[in-house]
Amino acid sequence: MMQFKTILKNPAQWMLSSGPYGEIVISSRVRLARNLRDISFPGWAVEEDRIEVLNRVKPAVENLNEMSGAFSSDLSNLKAVNKQILVERHLISREQAAKAAGSAAIMNRKQTLCVMVNEEDHLRMQSIKAGLSLSDAYKMIDEVDTKLESTLDYAFDNQYGYLTACPTNLGTGMRASAMLHLPGLVLAEQINKVINAVNKIGLAVRGLYGEGTEALGNLFQISNQHTLGEQENEIIARLEKVIRQIIKHEENAREKLYIEKRTVLDDKIGRSYAILRYGHIISTKEALDLLSMLRTGIDLGYFSDDIRALIDVLFMEIQPAHLQFFADRKLGAEERDCLRAEIMCDRLKSLPEPSKFSSNKSNEQSSQED
């Protein structure tokens, strides 16, 4: 069984690799909600029932090939800060972090697969892949689900499909979502238009940590709202189609900025670079915005593509619980802001200045050669 510390030392596989449309789509996730037939849903179940669910589900999940060498823990055994780390890595939800008896999380080594026990439903299983890979992510979690259904008796209804605690998840019990980095649309002030349009066609747009969270660092999650009345692959195809359109809009917005507001762009990227290199007190929100501009700089050729993974890992590591783990003690808000600045400064110390401030890349390269 993997140690908690090992999880932290290794970033998730999807953070290190770049998937399809990796410049704009950070990751794709697919989550399935399942329940056992003969026991109350976790929110209503008494403690013994929740523990009974855990005793049936946990061994079934741990025995999967996919979970060999997995990290598995009852959440009551984890310190609050460690739970928060799992939330920051999108491995468990904020709701589950608050729960106690009978809740557990099991995740594979690569942190691409995670099963939560006794969250809102008895099982919430999800897969995460880099880039726009919703079909692959679904395939991965579908296989796990098919294996589990041979040992667990799921609650299933001929009309409503998989029965879930909340009727909004009925049917497929599937929530597919992609994390998009949309600085172009935000800077061009087109993002609200896009969000409204996406909402109108039955898809949801949320911030970095799901329902009711702010869109920090220009990161947005787009997911399906309906789970019943359509097949899984239809839902995914529709979602992918919309995401491809958003990608197009984002690319256009970036190009337009690059052509028409080049100085504004140079300035934003230059300032972000300077603050990250020389700032001493940086809050989470500011850090996410600065890293977002650096990532934009990579996409537009201001920085080498080699540092993309470094930036993506920093997005995770500068968040409050990760910092406290790094420091190995509880930190006050001010201490966190200082440590955050220190870490980013250290990681980025060998990053060359943004190299696109004037004229285009080829000119600059030739002048450097002179």
Binding site: I39, S40, E149, F156, P167, H226, T227, L228, G229
Partner: protein, 170 residues
Amino acid sequence: MNCDVCQENDATVYLTQIVKGKMQKVNLCEECAKQKGVTDPTGFALADALLGIGSDEKMDVSADSLECESCGFSHAEFKKTGRFGCSECYTVFGFGLESLVKAMHKGTLHLGKVPSRYQVTKKYNDQITELKDRLRIAIEDENFEEAARLRDEIKLAEADYITSNESEIE
């Protein structure tokens, strides 16, 4: 499953009724169902008539006080939280649920993945539901020839389902 009345034949008619916030289920074989007049759609308090359950109780169930027999969850609780207590709640509080679900989703019939142990049931269920819909329309249109044909088809599908169920159990 045996018939609750004669305890001999296989039950093929399943009744679910809610009396005083409690769910009652009665399983009958075709013979007994016919004898007891279960096929009469105007039948009221069937469980009462058949098995004498709660014979003195009057039916006055307001939706809020309705409770799930399996988990004790009440409809008032659902109104408060928007979540159900257990999977059985979907049967108990099934009335009026369809319009709620319709507002939330693309449709009200699950078209996606089906766990393998439910695949046969789901297939026949969808088939029989569709045939019954067509039967209702045929009767409305007074197309009795078609209705008779559909009725036979439904019987056949139901018999098929029972056989397939038996072979599955074996």
